[in-house]
């Protein structure tokens, strides 16, 4: 094999601490290498053209590019090889940026290490073989997990694009966090007027199948052919016949069930529909508060239900759906502020969260849009808002900015003034972050037109005094301590990853960061993709996002799915295992260990042998290291290839 080596400067990213010319010079001595050069930007058009020219001029049949991580540009350079008429797998990359130039300043050591990495890549390349993809059919339907605004948008866009959509929502209704909001920034238009019609579209769309009150149990398969089992949780109501008339809710004598939709500000009936615009509008029994289910008494709902839908014997049910792609849109949870002892830690009833306040402001909320102190029901005049509660705070392990709290606080000060004209809002903030379109103008309006008093500084403590709360904090612009008497304190709680997000990530085989937010395929180039083919992300499951960003990402994820499904057949990754039939002794160990069931037993001239089903094999290579005979080899990562790399580094 004639190998060409291209050592990239990456501007000064690599050249700054690696002598790329020296690496190229050293490479010329490596076995198989017939050509080596350094190049300014290997990935640029002139860079790629240079590689193609060199392939033709020097009749190269293998290429090593020493540059950034293969996770970034391996596909780019593989395409370059294809343009030059070579097989895309006759290519290796040496990562001399992330693994060398960016982690040390010692130019001599870096240059030496870079040459080593090139030697390893070249040694492996000598053992590479051309590989060819196979085609397999795709199931052109998509599952969207999570029915918040991002999931709704993704589902509608896919459905309008002609795909069959399965929307799975863990609550009894879709709508997510947005459904709980009264108004949205920066337009102060009503949240349900924006979201409501979309929810109805989901319910009525012929291409969308909605599984509410359901959770993902297990995910099997691969891009184009996923099998997902879904747990439909017992609602104790037959949703096929329930009409959502609400008679059961009206007659239910139990009034103490937790009202999660109203953020526990109120109580609700044991059988309930979370809010009037719920989709699907179906009743569910909260088993913890139902006297029939707890003590086998009552049963009033069953007696009054005109459609006889109540079924106390209902059990969780597992169903299976087959889809070709999955969009995760599981959203976020609010930070539990009660860890902040200095803010009362959940002790003072008049210290509430922003979402509780939002429910209070909402005409469909528990107080019908009247702002009332939870302690005595009085209308507050002095409302203090505290920002960055569970954001930008290392001490509670939330060092990141949640992004939308500055804006919703500004909105809430405006709404407070609208609801109670003689009220005064005070906002303790660290910095105002309002980078969206018309966002900064909006926060300024809150201050200038609506007279919200913005105080830059952290609050050190809140304590009760009479029927008021005293908020003590610093005003860092004045350089003084301040104390504000508050009737009501609203904490702008930040966002954290949804409960159970990491469990779902494991089922989907996608990665997540230290905080449980899902990781995108690449922070710049693959913002809605994951590293698992066929699984996409939308909304705040990837990191805190406001509504426009969630909607945009929902649409982007849908477009990726539609793009994927624009092909009838997908090309399989040929980096799969193959069995050398002569070596195989039919012990079946590979069949046992394969996590995907991709290896089956076959009969070969009366002998038991293993055989790999190419489209199911995911290329992990567990079988290869299991096989006692070395008969199963993962192509592109064979024993010989890995050991060639070992020998290339260790031979001195």
């Amino acid at each position: 094999m004639k190998i060409g080596v291209f050592v990239c400067h990456c501007g000064s990213n690599i050249e700054g601490t690696v002598d790329t010319a020296a690496v190229a010079a050293a490479s010329r001595e490596f076995p198989g290498v017939v050509f080596a050069t350094d190049t300014m930007y290997a990935c640029s058009e002139p860079g790629q053209d240079g590689i193609i020219e060199a392939i033709k001029e020097h009749k190269l049949d293998g290429v090593v590019v020493a540059s950034c991580t293969p996770r970034m540009h391996e596909p780019t350079f593989r395409r370059t090889l294809e343009r030059a008429g070579l097989n895309r797998y006759l290519f290796e990359m040496a990562n001399i940026r992330e693994h060398v130039s960016w982690i040390g300043k010692d130019r001599e050591a870096n240059t030496n290490k870079s040459a080593d990495l090139v030697r390893m890549a070249a040694a492996k390349l000598l053992k590479n073989r051309p590989l060819f993809s196979k085609q397999f059919p795709v199931n052109k339907s998509v599952m969207v997990i999570g029915g918040g605004v991002a999931g709704i948008q993704a589902a509608l866009d896919c459905a309008n694009g002609g795909l069959k959509v399965v929307l799975v929502e863990k609550d009894t209704t879709i709508g997510g966090k947005m459904a709980k909001l009264d108004k949205t920034f920066p337009t102060v238009d009503c949240s349900s007027c924006v979201l409501g019609p979309l929810m109805v579209d989901v319910a009525q769309h012929p291409n969308i199948k909605l599984h509410a009150y359901s959770e993902i149990e297990e995910v099997n398969g691969y891009v184009g052919n996923f099998e997902v089992s879904i747990k439909k949780k017992a609602s104790y109501v037959d949703w096929d016949s329930c009409t959502g008339c609400g008679l059961c809710v009206e007659k239910c004598p139990s009034r103490k069930a937790t009202d999660f939709f109203n953020e526990k500000l109120a109580t609700t009936k044991a059988i309930n529909i979370p809010f009037p615009q719920a989709i699907p509008k179906k009743a569910k029994i909260d088993a913890n508060f139902c006297m029939k289910l707890q003590k086998d008494k009552c049963g009033v709902c069953a007696k009054v239900c005109p459609s006889e839908s109540i079924d106390f014997s209902q059990k969780d049910e597992i169903i299976t759906e087959s889809v070709g792609a999955i969009v995760a849109a599981t959203g976020f949870d609010l930070f539990d502020w009660t860890v902040y002892g200095e803010y009362g830690g959940g002790k003072y009833p008049d210290v509430i969260t922003s979402l509780q306040y939002e429910r209070m402001l909402s005409a469909s909320g528990p107080s019908e849009g009247h702002i009332k102190r939870p302690s005595d029901g009085k209308e507050p005049k002095n409302v203090v808002f505290i920002q960055c509660v569970g954001s930008r705070d290392k001490s509670v392990d939330r060092p990141y900015c949640s992004g939308f709290c500055c804006m919703y606080t500004a909105k809430q000060t405006i709404l407070t003034k609208d609801h109670i004209p003689d009220s005064q809002s005070h906002v303790f903030y660290m910095d105002i972050r309002s980078p969206g379109k018309l966002y900064d103008e909006f926060t300024r309006r809150a201050m200038e037109e609506y007279g919200a008093n913005y105080i830059r500084g952290r609050v050190s403590m809140i304590y009760p005094q009479g029927d008021k709360l005293v908020v003590r904090g610093a005003d860092t612009l004045m350089g003084a301590q301040v104390e504000v008497d508050a009737d009501l304190v609203v904490l702008a709680v930040g966002a954290e990853a949804a409960a159970g997000a990491t469990d779902l990530a494991k089922k989907l085989r996608i990665s997540y960061d230290n905080y449980g937010f899902y990781m995108e395929g690449h922070p710049k180039l693959k913002p809605v993709e994951t590293n698992t083919a066929g699984v996409y992300l939308a909304g705040a499951c990837q990191g805190p996002k406001d509504i426009p960003a969630s909607v945009a990402q929902g649409g982007a994820a849908a477009s990726k799915v539609l793009g994927l499904f624009s092909q009838d057949m997908l090309a399989s990754d040929p980096q799969v295992s193959v069995v050398e039939i002569k070596r195989c002794i039919g012990c079946g160990k590979c069949i046992e260990t394969c996590p995907f069931g991709a290896i089956k037993e076959i009969d070969f001239r009366g002998m038991k042998k293993a055989d790999v089903i190419e489209t199911i094999c995911q290329g992990c290579g567990i079988c290869t290291s299991t096989c006692p005979q070395g008969a199963v080899q993962l192509q592109h990562f064979t024993d010989n290839q890995i050991l060639a790399e070992v020998n290339a580094i260790c031979r001195f």
């Binding site: 940026r97 693994h99 040390g104 050591a109 590293n531 992990c620």
Partner: protein, 154 residues
């Protein structure tokens, strides 16, 4: 190229593509300074690592071998790292029998987002190998024999 005399030792890292290789990339992107001794060999999954690779690497003259994969329960291939953990733990116990200091080998878990953790792992392991110094070289016939023994045992 030979290692830099007096500066570096020969350390080989086997990293899974999805977590630890990504974690090493994240460390690079974050410009987290690390010793230069370790050279990374990318494998699709820690479950792809045959314990014999590690023995062969040490026999071939490496002074240390580090394996890193996804945290248990967090494998891109569902359970590859469980296989890896079992095999590598076995290997660790075999090394002294083969006359290899088990401190020359370690395995760890680093996720793609844990750049800082990768920096710590590399730094600590490199220091550990430097404390042990260069590995005693095992010559031709003896190495062959040890390898055969190992192959039979694993």
């Amino acid at each position: 190229m030979p290692i830099l005399e007096g500066k570096e030792l020969r350390i080989v890292g086997f990293l899974c593509n999805w977590c630890s290789y990504g974690g090493a990339d994240t460390a690079g992107v974050g410009r987290f300074k690390q010793p230069t001794d370790l050279r990374v060999i990318k494998v699709p999954c820690s479950g792809r690592i045959d314990p014999l690779f590690i023995v062969k690497t040490l026999m071939a003259g490496a002074d240390g071998v580090l394996v890193s994969g996804c945290h248990p329960r967090d494998c891109h291939y569902s359970e590859g790292n469980y296989y890896a953990r079992r095999r590598l733990e076995m290997l660790k116990r075999f090394l002294p029998i083969m006359g290899i200091d088990p401190k020359r080998f370690d395995y760890t878990w680093v996720s793609a987002s844990e750049g800082q953790r990768w920096q710590e792992v590399v730094t600590k392991f490199t220091e550990q190998i430097h404390e042990l110094g260069a590995a005693p070289k095992i010559a031709g016939a003896e190495a062959e024999e040890t390898l055969k023994l190992m192959e039979a045992a694993l």
